[in-house]
């Protein structure tokens, strides 16, 4: 690999070696938006905006870790999301 540390710059010049993917290769919009087999961590995920994001990601098939500090309700919410969008979680 020519850039093993994945540094963004080589001196003052950006490393532009990302490969573009054609629309045909990327697939349908529905496929591109799918989060199947992907994983997200959401801090403050037990309530409010964080929980709203979690529901949306769960609908898209994502595996989710909800992080909370004082909001213990996150535990039951995590279980409920797993149940609603996947198989039972005890």
């Amino acid at each position: 690999m020519s850039n093993p540390t994945l540094a963004p710059l080589n001196g003052p010049n950006f490393n532009h070696d990302n490969h573009r993917v054609t629309a045909a290769a990327a697939g349908s919009i529905a496929k591109r938006l799918s989060l199947a087999n992907k994983t997200a961590i959401i801090t403050g995920g037990g309530a409010g905006i964080g929980y709203g994001v979690a529901v949306a990601y769960a609908e898209m098939g994502c595996n989710i870790a909800l992080w909370y500090n004082t909001n213990d309700a996150a535990i039951q919410k995590a279980e409920a999301l797993a149940k609603e969008f996947g198989i039972q979680c005890k």
Partner: protein
Amino acid sequence: MKPRDRFAACLFTRCCTSGKAYKVDIRNFDSVDEAVTCSVRDLNGRLDIFVANAGVPWTKGVMVDGPLDHYKDVVDTNLDGVYYCAKAAAGHWRRQKQSNNDIHGAPLSNFKMGSFIATASMSAWIANIPQLQASYNAAKAGVIHLCKSLSVEWAQFARANTVSPGYIYTGITGFIPPEYKEWWQDKVPLG
């Protein structure tokens, strides 16, 4: 950090999604770092998206009288916490991009780049009224510029973006008097 249902989660090999909850104090980098690794190991061995959304409001009025420990808490959670989450997550994304393997060493499929999304705020752009919250505003402005900077640093392996919500009906404004909320709502053109 106390992950729940760790053993139960291992039993689910055909789960469409698995959801797990973790108690994490994001004001401590070691807790954050350990929790990212645990979350990744407990779920499916990879990290794709990190939503750094956790935040606390400033609730103590004018800053000239406000307690310094509350100031520290607001900045520790809203800015430092985001920084620590970014640092921990980026370690995984860089490794995933370098090796194209998950945390167990198995090949990754369908990983292009990590995605870091921080919840900033309208407060990062303007100074809210009637409630006064200078430290919250400063921390949120810091989150935005942090993510802009990270998007450059991480160009080879992850993206970094922010979302700046206006007034959203959630628990963070639980301490606000109802008449403030009416005033806020009046100022929303679509309101």
